[in-house]
Symmetry: D2
Subunit: 204 residues, 4 copies
């Protein structure tokens, strides 16, 4: 049975729960259409992220890698672009390093992003296309996975989805939130759309 | 047993479900601390709103009237101010009429608004104080109820809470939302705080 | 010749220039239609604000008092409501005191606010009606002046306008700004509208 | 004398003035440090944009191409990324075409973007780094110019800056704006930073 690798992140800093990790874990072993979901929980550390995911790709040989991470918008953000920029605070102020030295300027998501947004919305979950995954770990993982798949010439599609914080994480901030149930429903819809896309691609 | 009257609104226009009415209905007959919740669902029509609520106040003789309505913010907005302005679109453009001819410029909520915000947040639900309930039906009902209670010299506290739309109501808009479960949890917390406030006031 | 009293605020805290004071000072002695502009610059201290303005009202006997203060929105905010709430940080957390003990819950601006917005826009300056002047010094002054005029039974209209910060005050914050020239143009338009309103009221 | 090519856009649709074109025209022939500014005004039509700019590059042989266009944010947005996506409304809904068939997924700006932001702010003009130039004409021009310079192996740096609308363009919308003077001051600062960067690169 084909597999989709779904990754979330570990808690970090002030966030003692990371909804991306919670949702990923909760879907481990689930069947979506004709595929089985395998999962990985990634540490929030530059470098360790891709070091965690690369062996899982080796182990599971998935047809797609979908990563989710905690963002700040009001709905799911299906990311389209990962840039070769890693922003670092140094003694000389903020500086930009490449995610991959000599790598291309950016990768576009190879997931069916526009169809995913449309389908997730049809399932009642607020969703937008997004053209920036930031310059921190989420972008780093998205770029690293796309680069690894390209470099290893695997025929595997991949991309990233930012999810909102849970209500209890933003009680006094005025920031938008989304319940874990709704996020999970949106991620399942995303995976269904990816599965459907792969099935149709395969049958062509 | 003392009663709190909780009102929500009917669906209107493009909103075929009104979460404020859904949440109010779901709490009808519930006990919160030492009080019983009675509810009313209010039509979204200037004038009919208070005409619906006034007989419920007569019938139930509540210790508090808490009204909820659909707003647009990311969390519950506990409203502090109702103004004597009713905004109307006319042939000559937008005009301002008073909610109550000759009424005071505004009423402050008589609910323990600041304590409510603190307590609702402690229950994990995003909440803010708000200083404007708008100039449409939500403000109209809030003003009308406070005016009626003052005019009838009832010793009844009252106020208004705006709630966010449900996720499925804003899928493509980029606007924030909140699941009905989370909203309901926040409204229950609000009612618990009101009940606690009344109990302590009574015991003084 | 009739006078309009225009007040701005002094610099405070991190704001070493206060555009509201700059604009007010720059208009001192100007003629707008049939009236002369007199001005006062108000310290950013609860209590001292109205203590500064009250003698100016005695001295000048103006037909209108227009106060401006620094806000955070993208355009001029013509305020409609001043509430009887003064928010204070105390050892026990944030508490609410009244601006005027025993005063009414709120005052509506007695300026022609809706006409002002329309006219200021027609002069090319972004403007909105606003229903909350906050709970700090701007609201305090607006409420205090309206209360003083009501209490002293003067036939003087009054209200408040929030203005955006200057560009150089928000360079890295992502917050909106407005050049002093554009703000000044908007304030002049506001005063023209007030003058026109008074002239037509007088002639009735 | 070395030249920097500065491009702005023509008015289009509801925007009868385009501040990007106004600012560019106003700087034509100016000297900034050791360089002379030459300008081009670009039609708001996919394809015609780069067709207008390419001959100007041939003609002037500039050391840098800086393009500016009308955006919606509160300050100047110094764009870092141009993506190979051109969003088109078709009968079958919104579809994505490439800006350049077979081109790389994206180009990073080759201007000193982070230094530009710091320097523009030091001149009192609100500015941010931005990681998405959208999917319409501004992104199209930014991508097309970077692709052309790469393809023609010219040693010319290039990038894009989004500017806010003028106050008179957004009077009733609640959207942020910036006066033409402030925008112009920010663009001059951007060009000074680019000139400084080129001078130091050359001297290395």
């Amino acid at each position: 049975m084909s597999k989709i690798l779904l990754t979330g992140f570990e808690p970090w800093g002030e966030w003692t729960i990371n909804p991306s990790g919670e949702v990923a874990s909760s879907l481990d072993g689930h069947k979506i259409g004709g595929v089985s979901i395998v999962t990985g929980i990634v540490p929030v550390v530059h470098g360790e992220d891709i070091e965690t995911v690369r062996p899982l790709i080796e182990q599971h040989d998935p047809v797609a890698v979908v990563s989710i991470g905690l963002g700040g918008s009001s709905g799911l953000n299906v990311e389209r672009v990962a840039v070769n920029i890693k922003e670092i605070d140094s003694d000389e102020g903020t500086i930009d390093l490449p995610v991959v030295e000599g790598g291309p300027d950016a990768y576009l998501s190879t997931l069916p992003t526009r169809d995913m947004v449309e389908y997730i919305r049809s399932q009642g979950v607020p969703t937008q296309l997004s053209y920036s995954a930031g310059t921190f770990l989420c972008n780093h993982l998205m770029y690293s996975v796309l680069h690894h798949l390209r470099a290893s010439e695997r025929d595997v599609i991949s991309g990233f989805i930012h999810i909102p914080p849970m209500p209890e994480q933003v009680v006094g901030s005025g920031r938008p939130s989304m319940s874990l149930d709704t996020v999970r429903q949106g991620v399942v819809a995303a995976l269904e759309c990816v599965e459907d896309h792969i099935r149709h691609s395969a049958s062509v």
